[in-house]
């Protein structure tokens, strides 16, 4: 039986997630979309109504009122709002999948550490879009070679970077760097983001540099990255590794590498284009990761031991 869910925050992210669940939700079923404005003032809620999804217009009060209808809440509001909502979800016995930078719960990348965090917590955080795109590949390198240092650069079309990202761009770089270490397994991580206004808008693309020992079996790394790419594609259809690891030695760079080499990998994320344009892969990977998380939790019946269990005790 499907697990029922609500989306809180009917903005771009919430609306995109709604279409994804309606299109390809299997174990997750969308029960309600909740915002804070009347339907006629909210494009997202209007879209929900048009697609026969029930709506709520009173924010957290709507969650309280309808909490017995669903088990999972997708948070698509803001860090500030999620910090306020999180204790309410906990009291109501709801499992929260947080797409904001609040990071109340542990950083979670479905293909890397979901099984580790679920069961420990009923609130998981989706890191950042760049984190969802790059952390799995750092992990893929780290599982066959020890990653001393990982660096990611995210290139995002200006048009797909909303006001939230722009007002607090530091939270992207700091959170992503943390995730490269705590989830990706790098001993040290660094994240960089660039916004490019070119027209037509550029596809979301990311570069990952990992610094590993010169004796690293590069073929094993390639193979590990290939396997990881396939796993990610099960929940992010537009995810593609565009450059397999290229090896740089001390001769190819202007600084001292000691006994290390650099493996450089690139990837692109093309959005599915349901609600947001295909170039906005940065938004797409966030909603895809959230849905992927929800699906895996629902399929594995993981909710019985955590969220619902707490509520009924």
């Amino acid at each position: 039986m499907a697990v029922k869910a609500a989306i809180v925050g009917p903005g771009n992210i919430g609306t995109d997630l709604m279409y994804k669940i309606l299109d390809r939700g299997e174990a997750i079923e969308l029960e309600r979309m909740i915002g804070i404005f009347p339907v006629e003032e909210s494009e997202g809620l209007q879209a929900a109504v048009d697609n026969d999804v029930a709506v709520g217009t009173e924010g957290i009060d709507s969650v309280r009122e309808h909490a017995d209808e669903f088990d999972v809440v997708f948070e698509a509001t803001s860090a500030h709002v999620h910090r306020e909502n999180a204790p309410v979800y906990e009291d109501l016995g709801l499992f929260a999948i947080d797409m904001t930078p609040a990071a109340v719960g542990p950083y979670t990348v479905p293909v890397v550490n979901l099984d580790d965090v679920v069961g420990e917590t009923d609130n998981v955080n989706m890191v950042t879009c760049g984190g969802q795109a790059t952390i799995p590949l750092v992990y893929a390198v780290d599982r066959v070679a020890d990653v001393e240092y990982a660096e990611m650069i995210s290139h995002i079309a200006s048009k797909s970077a909303g006001p939230g990202t722009r007002q607090n761009i530091d939270s992207f770089t700091q959170t992503t760097a943390d995730g490269l270490e705590t989830v990706g397994g790098a001993r040290e991580g660094k994240a960089i983001i660039t916004l490019n206004p070119a027209e037509p808008p550029i596809m979301m693309r990311n570069t990952i540099h990992t610094q590993v020992h010169e004796d690293t079996d590069v073929d094993a790394v390639r193979d590990s990255i290939g396997r990881m790419e396939s796993e990610i594609q099960t929940y992010v259809p537009g995810y593609e590794v565009t450059m397999e690891p290229e090896v740089k030695t001390g001769d190819d760079v202007a600084f001292d590498l000691g006994d290390a080499i650099i493996l450089t990998t690139m990837l692109e994320v093309e959005g599915e284009g349901q609600h947001l344009p295909p170039y906005a892969g940065n938004l797409d990977i966030m909603t895809s990761a959230a849905l992927g998380t929800g699906e895996r939790i629902a399929e594995q019946g993981l909710l019985d031991g955590t969220a619902r269990g707490v509520a009924h005790d």
């Binding site: 200006s158 007002q167 530091d170 770089t173 660094k190 960089i192 540099h209 565009t242 190819d252 202007a254």
Partner: protein, 345 residues
């Protein structure tokens, strides 16, 4: 200040870091800073070429940490002010915090010319701490004058004391400079600055055009040491501006001595910028000047003419910070060449 006063910012120890692959040591920085202070330079800027936090695989690791550079330079400065650079998206307020603690007087915050709204939190942080804040609009040649103005107004609103038109690709003609600087000088209530690169051989001429159009704060480097073909050469600027009747603070001979006696012995022939075929292409194709040395290395690794890589990057409209795309383009051009060779067989 009269309207004939021009403030000079020496970036030998910042933009110059691109030319030496970020290899200056704190001791070298201390020596150059001491010579510039002796010459009564208005401001010296110190950091990794891509700003604080720029030390990375993508842009090259610097020889020392930001804190070590600042600690070496601060004791050398008496009347000369100390500036640092930050590019939001690369560095964060953590780096600003460090710079404030170590004694920076000015924080310059740079964004791509259309993306000023990523800098609000950084301007607020700097002005809250009581420092001077300057906004830099990079690659200003890529936007129309009206767009540059709209973005400059955002920085003014966030608290900038001055906003610069940055010709980061050395791609502007004097008329491009006049149009942009002139509009900003007319419409803003804060100072307007100009930053040149010499990729088309126009660094000094463009700077004069900018000053005539109303710029009152100007960037340069000793011997022009900076990314691409280098920046406006500071010794030349001091001499030219004096001849043109502007009031400048630095001592002409002092600046010349700092360049010839202190800087030149630290820099190899390979590092000292000149207008060569590759760096000329930066200006022609409108590519961020610091791409030069990374592109040369990629060209060598993949056996591709750096000019072809730069042309392709220009067509892609790459912006500052996208140095990783150099490898992408070079490896793509190499595969295309190999595929063409195979089909010829």
């Amino acid at each position: 200040m009269t309207d004939r006063d021009v403030r000079l910012v020496d970036m030998t120890l910042r933009d110059g870091m691109h030319a030496v692959d970020h290899s200056f040591t704190p001791e070298e920085m201390a020596d150059v800073a001491a010579a510039l202070d002796e010459a009564s330079m208005d401001v010296v800027e110190v950091s990794h070429g891509d700003g604080m936090g720029g030390s990375s695989i993508n842009y090259g690791f610097s020889a020392a940490e930001t804190g070590e550079y600042l600690d070496a330079v601060v004791p050398q400065l008496t009347d000369t002010k100390l500036s640092v650079l930050l590019l939001p998206g690369i560095g964060t307020v953590e780096e600003l915090d460090l710079a404030v603690d170590r004694g920076a007087d000015v924080c310059r915050i740079a964004t791509h010319v259309t993306e000023a709204d990523v800098s609000q939190e950084h301007f607020e942080y700097v002005t809250d701490r009581g420092l001077e804040a300057t906004g830099l609009l990079m690659l200003s040649h890529m936007a129309a004058p009206e767009t540059v103005l709209e973005q400059a107004k955002l920085m003014e609103e966030y608290g900038a004391d001055a906003v610069y038109v940055m010709d980061s690709a050395g791609a502007m003609l004097p008329s491009d400079v006049r149009d942009r600087v002139g509009l900003l000088a007319d419409e803003l209530s804060i100072d307007v600055g100009f930053h040149a690169h010499d990729n088309l051989g126009l660094a000094i001429g463009n700077t004069l055009a900018g000053i005539e159009a109303g710029a009152t704060t100007i960037d340069g480097c000793l011997r022009g040491l900076g990314a691409g073909s280098g920046n406006a050469q500071m010794e030349v600027l001091v001499g030219v501006l004096e001849k043109a009747g502007y009031e400048v603070t630095p001592d002409f001979f002092g600046v010349m001595d700092a360049a010839e006696d202190v800087l030149v012995p630290m820099v190899s022939d390979d590092e000292m910028p000149e207008i060569d075929n590759d760096s000329l292409l930066l200006g022609y194709a409108g590519v961020y000047s610091s791409f030069l040395r990374h592109t040369r290395r990629a060209g060598e690794k993949y056996g591709i003419d750096p000019r072809e890589i730069l042309l392709a990057l220009g067509e892609m409209e790459v912006v500052g910070g996208q140095e990783d795309l150099i490898t992408d383009v070079a490896s793509r051009l190499a595969s295309e060449r190999d595929a063409a060779a195979e089909s010829d067989d």
